[in-house]
Symmetry: C2
């Protein structure tokens, strides 16, 4: 061991108890033998992008879905994996830490040991590695953080980084490399898989959806490891603040939540804790609300509450909100463009377009400074550093004071307190759900590698049901990709690289509908709800995310159901059946086929979450 990772540490009583918690496995992964059933070859959700994706990922595009089934499953084509050579697997934590990450490693190691005790797992981190053993894992089981291995940089993308990864895999003689992370890391995993395939490097690459943002969401992936914990810890704190607001009766709390571009965390926390208001980035982008519109909207809410003699409230803001405001987004694009050209932050304001410059000068100094920060690796602004909550509190206060002077607002003084909730949740002990989910995903990684698959993401579906109903599988990462079309600047137009893009909150989805139905009650009636601190025993310990339960996502289940229908038609219309039956089948299937062709020819109408902008 040539690193200082994995040092023994002092655990509290609760940590000790949690370290003895044994997550369950769904029936299909129990026992020593697992069947793998391959489904149809996959495509990409956006047919227009499919061609681009297939061109860039010739070796890993179009691979079939994989379902893992129990040994006794009666599926004719399922292959029984009986060959279990000793394999060496490397593991990397990519990008931001998310509660539960350690359990992926534990699940993987456990599966490795069950199927071949000579297998091994190697934590890979820069030049440092750590052989992961049961002993070392003891104090990390069911614990938060990524501190067993530390986390890498946000990306493995440049030619240098990819070459370094390949060299490391070859040097360590790895049969598999497991990449634990969100959309960026799993895009890199797909790229690495393709590169390895081209170079005939024997290391297979597997991705695992672990991100507190909850934005690696698509037809194959229902939620991400860490999202459940983050939303529970944040909801605890938001609820405490709601109770505080109701007790003090004199403050408006503006709370910004971590979660990157999309507003999944903010939506889930709202449904758990019922604050007075939430402003989703997706709503703002869809309605093209300006900073002025937003300020007015909040002021109107404050005024309506003042008329009921209420001078307190809690307002949630996702950190991605700032980029969803059209004019701020445009300003950020100009700033980032100049920064990339090497213009220093001090000289940017003088080089902005007149329009952007006017907005920039209007903003308070602290926000100006934050907008000038260099963009992140995914091209977004440094969202965790931009205090949108302070900006809005500032603008709302100014507007309320103006209304007070004009006599249109007749209430008491407006007082705001601002918070940013993120870092204090990210390192939490993972919830039972996240412990189980991550552990099962770790097991699946092993089976993906044992089946010799490359460029797949481990998936578990039907997650809203108990673990014994969970369905395990794997999907090629390329099948989750989309292609962004850039249209920045006059006349400029280019096609981006295929990538996993953060799924945004679906404004036609059931979770958002639930929010809309309750928004007025939340705003006016203070029906605050306190889910309390994360519990590991008793009521609430098995609670699942509201959005996970409301959204009926069972895509994999439906794919299988469709297969059954197709099989049934084939069985009924066997050679020898009557002419009438055959005719009816032909006519019906012709019509079905036509409908589906029409639906898939226009590329952008699918129900799949579309990348923003």
């Amino acid at each position: 061991m040539d690193s200082d990772y994995g040092i023994p540490r002092e655990l509290s009583d609760l940590q000790k108890l949690r370290s003895t918690y044994q997550p369950l496995l769904p029936p299909c992964l129990q026992g020593t033998t697992v069947r793998v059933e391959f489904g149809d070859a996959t495509t990409a959700a956006d047919p227009a992008g499919a061609h681009t994706i297939s061109r860039i990922f010739p070796h890993t595009y179009g691979q079939p879905l994989a379902h893992f089934l129990r040994e006794t499953a009666k599926v004719p084509d399922a292959k029984l994996i009986t060959d279990h050579p000793a394999i060496r697997v490397g593991v990397v934590f990519c990008g931001r830490q998310s509660p539960g990450g350690h359990n992926v490693i534990w699940g993987l190691l456990n599966a490795l040991k069950i199927h071949n005790p000579n297998s091994g797992s190697e934590g890979l981190f820069a030049q440092k590695t750590l052989e992961v053993t049961d002993d070392i894992l003891t104090t990390y089981k069911n614990q938060g953080g990524y501190d067993l291995l530390g986390r890498t940089q946000d990306q493995i993308r440049t030619t240098e980084q990819v070459n370094a990864a390949q060299a490391a895999c070859t040097a360590l003689k790895l049969d598999g490399l497991v990449i634990i992370g969100g959309v960026t890391s799993n895009t890199d995993a797909a790229q690495l898989a393709e590169t390895f395939a081209v170079a005939k490097c024997p290391t297979k690459v597997v991705g695992v959806p672990v991100t507190l943002n909850g934005d690696l969401k698509n037809q194959f992936v229902e939620t991400n490891v860490g999202f459940d914990t983050i939303c529970k810890v944040n909801s605890q704190l938001i609820s405490n603040v709601c109770t505080d607001a109701l007790s003090a009766e004199k403050y408006y709390y503006f709370i910004r939540l971590m979660g990157r571009k999309a507003s999944h965390v903010a939506l889930e926390c709202t449904l758990q804790s019922h604050p007075n208001m939430v402003v989703l980035g997706e709503e703002v982008a869809a309605s093209k609300l300006t900073l002025f519109d937003l300020t007015k909207q909040i002021c109107d809410a404050v005024q309506a509450r003042a008329e009921q003699d209420k001078y307190h409230g809690v307002i949630l803001l996702p950190e991605g909100l700032i980029e969803s405001i059209p004019e701020v987004y445009a300003l950020l694009q100009e700033i980032h463009g100049l920064l990339r050209q090497g213009v220093s932050a001090d000289h940017i304001s003088s080089q902005l377009s007149p329009w952007a410059s006017a907005l920039f000068e209007f903003l308070p100094p602290f926000i100006r400074k934050q907008l000038l920060l260099f963009p992140e690796s995914d091209d977004s602004a440094q969202l965790s550093q931009i205090e949108t909550e302070k900006l809005l509190a500032h603008l709302v206060e100014a507007e309320i004071n103006k209304r007070l002077k004009e006599g249109t607002y007749k209430g008491k003084k407006f007082n705001a307190i601002c918070h940013f909730f993120g870092y204090q949740a990210r390192g939490s002990l993972p919830s039972k759900f996240d412990c189980d989910y991550a552990y099962v995903l770790g097991h699946i990684c092993y089976h993906i590698l044992a089946a010799g698959l490359n460029g797949y993401l481990a998936t578990v579906t039907n997650l809203k049901n108990p673990v014994n109903k969970w369905r395990c599988g794997a999907a090629p990462i390329t099948a989750m990709m989309t292609v962004k079309r850039y249209g920045r600047g006059p006349g400029a137009s280019s096609i981006g690289k295929p990538a996993l893009h953060p799924a945004i909150v679906d404004l036609k989805g059931k979770s958002y509908e639930l929010l809309r139905q309750n928004a007025t009650k939340f705003l006016m009636d203070d029906i605050y709800r306190n889910p309390g601190p994360l519990q590991f025993d008793g009521p609430g310990a098995d609670a699942k995310a509201v959005t996970l339960c409301v959204e009926d996502q069972d895509y994999m289940g439906r794919i299988k159901e469709l297969q059954k229908y197709l099989d049934k038609v084939r069985t009924i219309v066997k050679p020898g059946c009557s002419q009438d039956v055959l005719k009816a089948a032909l006519s019906a299937m012709a019509s079905v086929t036509e409908i589906l062709s029409v639906m898939t020819s226009s590329s952008n109408s699918g129900a799949t979450p579309q990348p923003k902008k």
Copy 2:
């Protein structure tokens, strides 16, 4: 019901479970009959102030201690309270909310009902009242916040406020008034008790020590309701941030903790979660560390860690720290003086003394603005609004950059992330300890009133042991008072009013010693400990504050032990005993008496926490 308090509300599963939790009562309060034993007449800890206190509180100074004992207790002089007329009691939440406050009301109501079902409890809030019934309490039992009644202003002190309180008590025909709060509120309770006694108003006033600051601490009071919860919730978050720091390995987190002038919360949280560093206000004041010293101290720590290739860390700062830095305190005094003279914030900087002005101009603009805020009712700065964590992060960054240039620091770039933890903990569901403690205190309030006492604080001692070992009593609030000597400005000198002053962290105490013993390990070895989220079941649910367990506070127990010795001497040296025995007793007692006289004649050397400055 003429207010909108006490409206029914939706509880989460965990809240529902908690609302069914029945706190235990110590044996002395079980059953329908309780004995009260009066101890010796009390004095004040500071003999020099005793005269002033007795002059200002002629009716309520010098009253005896009261101990509540079970019916069967064999104490010769204990009075059995058998007379239980129906009594009406008013309850006020004073000042800042603290988790567990609601349980005081529940305990009181429960005791009222047990001893006379015709008794009643009335929540008193401004002109609004709410008759508290079991029904209304249902959803508030074991819950956080003060939202059943809302909270009043921070004080009942001016003649107007006191008259209004008296008028309300008379109008409502109250036999008792229970004031729930911290040092300020209980000082007001004592004043109200005296005023009522002078005016022959029949309402008796009782105080209850409820404050998250944990600073209503003296020989009679071991800890306050809310402190346990606040420290647990904050420690959870601090631990999460520690895990985050260790995972990301690139940030220093500066966390400011709510808790007013004293650093009890910061000390307790440090002992629970083992962050790298804590800067106690009491240390800074005692060592007269300047802003420059502090910056240097933190930079040296950062540099020492960098030499071990560690670029992360977690540093705790109590919110009161800013006032403990001598030159900042002096600056604040000048600013507050000018503000009280009516000088507007915009004109203050030009009217400061040259010395204060130089410091003011040196500080970054955001801090300047915060220092200019009007002081609070207890004369302190608006501590929750002054971002000391940002100031120190800013100064440390500047100093590290300077060292980097000079070549004395050779490590990586220093990155800080700042947090303020307070509001997000204050509204938490109370811990089991706080639920029990508050409920028992509520019961004691009833017995104080039933015994006809006025100006007392309800007390429970031996709290570090299980509930069945708790000792219940009451002490006159005047016995906890001290008198501050002001010496502001050249030549000026006046004697302040007697008051309860916040106890500061005892730098000679066992808790601080424990911190010092571990400080180097905490700083260098990252032995972070995660107590996890507040649990209501399983390990950790019955954990008690480290400082409570370490400090062996049992003052009331020792008072009783001393009484036993005195009684024993009296029994042994009865008339008829031998001359020798009598001589020995006389000589021994003369020596004891002399030692004690010497010790108490110099007023400031006691082990009692002394008011700061």
